[in-house]
Amino acid sequence: MARIDLDLAHAYNKNPQQDSDYALLPLKMTFEDGGAYALLGPSGCGKTTMLNIMSGLVTPSQGTVKYDGRDVTTLLPQERNIAQVFQFPVIYDTMTVAENLAFPLRNRKVPEDKIKKRVGEIAEMLEMSGQLNHRASGLAADAKQKISLGRGLVRPDVAAVLFDEPLTVIDPHLKWQLRRKLKQIHHELKLTLIYVTHDQVEALTFADQVVVMTRGRAVQVGSAADLFEQPSHTFVGHFIGSPGMNFLAGKVDAAGLHLSGVSFDLPAGRKLPKGEIKLGIRPEYVAVAEPGAPGALPMTANKILDVGTHLMLSASNANYALKARLPSDMSSLSPGDAVWLKVMGEHTCFYKNEEIVR
C-alpha cells in the first residue's frame, strides 16, 4: 500500500507539437494511501493511459511516477507491486479457478499455505468458493471477470489495485452487486483502489474522490457532492448529472449581470469579473417563479416529460434553452405555456473561460 504521486505528461507519438498530440497533458496528481478513486471521462480522454502509466504498462514520455516517494517510472509492471484488472476478462484457460487466483502469488514465490489461505478468502469474498476446482475456461463471462477481479485483489501488499472499466461485460444487476462488493472489499482490505470508467453513476457511487478527465486533462478532483455543487469546469457541469448543468452566456458590468435582455443584480457578497461570463445552474435547482420575480427568466415550455418521481421540463426563449427538474405536482404545465424560471440562487455558479469563478 502506498501513496502514488504523478508528475508527468505522455504523448504516444515521438514529437508532440501541440496539445492534441498529448494523450495526457502535464499534470500533477496524488492518490492517497487507502483511498477509493475513480477516473471519469469520455472515451479517449486519457484515463486508461493514466492507469497504464501507474501500472507500468506505459512509460510516460516525460515526468515521474512515485510510490511512497520512490521513483518507479522506469520499472516494469512485474517489479512494481501493483495490480490491474482489465476491461475484458483475462483468465488462464488451462488453470482452475483456484490456480488462476493463486497465479500472481505463485509467481512471487509466496509460501503455499499462505497462498491457499488467501485464495480461500478472496474466493469467499467473490462468492466463488464452490467453483474453486472448476476449470476457468468453461465459465460465463461474468464469472471470468470475477476471477480477474480476484487476481487483482489477491495480493495483500500491492501499492494499489487499478480497475480499467472492469464491469463493462457484466449484466446490469450483477454490476451493481459487484460494485458494492468492491466497495466492501475496499473497507475490509484497506487497499488503494483506482477505478476507470465513463459511467458517472459507477464513479460517483464507487469512489470517495472522483477525477474528471477530458482531452488529456484532469479538470476536477473531488467528492460526488463537489462535482455536483461546484463543477470547477463547464465540462464537469456538462458531464456530471443527467441532464447536465445549464449554461447561459451573459455579460457582467458595473450595473450587474446581463443575460440577453434581462438584467440581474449580483447576489449579495458575490464579486464577478467584468466581461463575458457564463452562468451555470443544475436542472435540479431551476425553479418556477412568479412572473417578473428577481433572478428569473421568461421562457416558453417546450416539452414536459413525466419521469414518475419528477417532471423534466425543456424550456427556451430566443436566446437560451434550459432544462429543469420540477416536482410532479407541476403537471398543470403544458407545452407552449409561458413560464418564468429562476436561475439565480445560492446554487448558481459562474464560469469565465470555462473555469469556475469562486
Partner: protein, 297 residues
C-alpha cells in the same frame, strides 16, 4: 389447426443431384474402381478372377509391408517431434510488426513454394559429396556421409529435408495463433508477475492450441503420404531404408502391376490414415481441457 404444415415436394431431391454427380465422379467412382480391383485377380486385361478377401489377408501378412508401415510411422512421428517444437520456436522468434515482420514472413514461406520434386533435386545435389555443399562440407569435416550408401544417412537426410521444407508451415500457423492473442493477456500476465516461461506455458501455448492442432494434422497426413521427395532423393534406397508406404504401393501397382494387392493395400492405407487422424484429433481436442482432479493442492 393452428399448426402450420410444411409443404412437401419430393422433386427437391433433384436439387442435390449435381452434388451427387460431382462427388460420384470425384470420389465414389475412383474409390469403387479400387475396391473392384481389390477383390479380383487381374491376370490380363481380358481375364479376371474374383478372389474375395484373399488379397487383403495376403497383404496384411506381408513382411515387406510391415517394414514399410513401421518406417512410415517412425518417420511421421519424427517429423512431428522435430517440426512442431521447431515451428513454435520459429513463430515465437518472428518479429510481430513493421517491415521486418513482412520480410520474415516472405523469407520463411519460400520453401513452401518449391515443388516437391524440385525439393528432392535440390537436396540430391546439396548432399552429394563431390559438388554438394552439405556433402562436401561434411566430407571436409571428416564425416563419412553418403545418402546413397548408408541407410541411416539416407533416412536422416529425408527427415532433414522434410523439416526444411515444412517447418515454416508450422511456424506460420503458430505465428497466426500468436498474433491473435489480445494484448490484455500479455499485460495481465505482466501485472501478475509471470516470467517469460510462464507466459509461454499459460498464455501463448494454450492460445495456439487450435492452430497447432491443424498443424499436427496437416503435417501428419502429409508426411504419412510422403512420396516425391524420397523418390527423387534416394529412390527408396539404399535397400528399403527410405521406402515409405506410398512408394511401396507405387512399386506394387505400377512397377509390378499387381493391381489386386495394390488396391487392397491402398484401401488399408486409406483406413490407417483415417483412423490415426481420428485418434489424433480426438486426443488433441481433449488434451489440456479435462477437469483437473484433486483441486488446488
Amino acid at each position: 389447426m393452428s399448426v402450420t404444415t410444411k409443404p412437401v415436394n419430393q422433386k427437391a431431391w433433384f436439387l442435390i443431384l449435381t452434388v451427387l454427380i460431382c462427388v460420384a465422379f470425384s470420389a465414389i467412382m475412383p474409390l469403387m474402381t479400387v475396391v473392384n480391383y481389390s477383390v479380383q485377380d487381374i491376370i490380363s486385361p481380358t481375364q479376371q478372377v474374383f478372389v474375395g478377401t484373399e488379397w487383403f489377408s495376403a497383404i496384411m501378412r506381408d513382411e515387406e509391408l510391415h517394414g514399410a508401415l513401421l518406417r512410415q510411422l517412425t518417420f511421421s512421428m519424427a517429423v512431428l517431434a522435430v517440426e512442431l517444437p521447431l515451428g513454435i520456436m520459429l513463430a515465437l522468434a518472428m518479429p510481430s510488426q513493421g517491415w521486418k515482420s513482412s520480410a520474415v514472413l516472405v523469407i520463411v514461406s519460400l520453401s513452401l513454394l518449391i515443388p516437391w520434386n524440385v525439393v528432392g533435386t535440390i537436396w540430391q545435389i546439396f548432399g552429394r559429396a563431390d559438388i554438394g555443399l552439405l556433402g562436401a562440407g561434411l566430407k571436409w569435416l571428416g564425416v563419412d556421409y553418403s545418402y546413397t550408401g548408408n541407410a541411416v544417412d539416407a533416412w536422416v537426410t529425408v527427415l532433414v529435408m522434410d523439416v526444411w521444407h515444412w517447418t515454416p508451415l508450422v511456424g506460420l500457423l503458430g505465428y497466426a495463433g500468436l498474433r491473435s492473442i489480445p494484448d490484455a493477456y500479455y499485460q495481465a500476465a505482466s501485472i501478475d508477475g509471470a516470467s517469460k516461461a510462464a507466459v509461454f506455458w499459460y498464455v501463448q501455448l494454450p492460445k495456439m492450441r487450435g492452430v497447432l492442432m491443424i498443424a499436427v494434422l496437416l503435417r501428419f497426413m502429409d508426411s504419412f503420404m510422403i512420396y516425391t521427395e524420397p523418390f527423387v532423393l534416394t529412390g527408396g534406397g539404399p535397400g528399403n531404408a527410405t521406402t515409405f508406404l506410398s512408394q511401396f504401393l507405387t512399386q506394387k501397382a505400377v512397377g509390378q502391376f499387381d493391381l489386386g494387392p495394390a488396391a487392397a493395400f491402398s484401401l488399408i492405407y486409406f483406413l490407417i490414415i483415417l483412423l490415426l487422424c481420428f485418434i489424433l484429433y480426438n486426443w488433441m481436442q481433449r488434451v489440456g481441457t479435462q477437469e483437473k482432479e484433486g483441486g488446488h493442492e
